[in-house]
Amino acid sequence: MLHPDPRGYRVALVADAIVNEGAASFDVLAALESHRFGVIVLPPSDFSLSSIGGIVEYVIDDLTDYVRNGYRVVEVGSSELVGFGTWHDIVALDLARRGQEGFEQFDVAGMSPADFDRFLAASIPAAELS
């Protein structure tokens, strides 16, 4: 980008079903936007995809690069969805292969907008502090 850096240094991996199918009881995208999070969405976790390993690998390439550079990366899904809605098992395996810890998780099931706001505001990215 050629204009002043507007980045929020915050990225959320969000379940497709939350973004596109109303799987949360509150407006997750609006809350993420208000807290300056960018959003990454993998394909729906109920799709049968032979290519999902390759798709996840490239997404985790990005997310781990964000973490290395002081971004805060979180995973937002639901325990009521297959694979948390985020292909969580495949994400976790890929992170483990790289020796990386899992991302902070928020399960929207049974949670309120206030709970989500508290989670999103819980910490300031290292990149923002430097």
Binding site: M1, L2, H3, P6, P43, F47, S48, L49, S50, S51, G54, I55, Y58, D61, D62, D65, Y66, N69, Y71
Partner: protein, 147 residues
């Protein structure tokens, strides 16, 4: 991003237009075929929204910087936004069509310009995007010339 990371240097189209980067893009494109096809099979309307002005992700406009390379240095006017697709978008289109997936309706948000002013330009970009999504018509380059 996936190729050069979050702290990559600015590049013009010329620096991306290399066999290794196109190979990287073709792998990403191949990964996209299955989920896009599944959405199409389920009756979804698929659109591509790129970043116009970008050397890689532009759909209607891309960015050229013929003088860039080697030790980082640039002058005003080095980066030129021109009509055309970015390298990643070209490979995505090629990869989809190679595998029998028709190129979806596509447009780009003209965010990557040398005189970007968020207060002035973002509302126009969002209005254009709203119109594209509502009309179901490809945005044409001639209607949206960069300033």
């Amino acid at each position: 991003m996936a190729f050069a990371g979050v702290n990559r240097w600015w590049q013009g189209r010329e620096l991306y237009d290399k066999a290794n980067y196109r190979r990287h893009c073709s792998i990403l494109a191949a990964n996209m075929v299955e989920p896009i096809s599944e959405f199409m099979n389920r009756g979804y309307d698929i659109v591509v929204i790129g970043l116009d002005g970008s050397p890689s992700s532009g759909v209607r406009y891309t960015g050229r910087a013929r003088a860039w390379g080697g030790r980082p240095h640039f002058d005003d006017g080095d980066y030129e936004v021109v009509e055309g697709m970015g390298v990643w978008m070209e490979e995505l289109k090629r990869g989809l069509e190679l595998r029998g997936v028709p190129w979806p309706r596509a447009t780009g948000m003209l965010l990557d310009t040398t005189d970007w002013d968020e207060a002035r330009d973002l509302p126009r970009c969002l209005d254009e995007l709203d119109q594209f999504l509502a009309d179901g018509v490809d945005a044409t380059a001639g209607d949206h010339a960069p300033s």
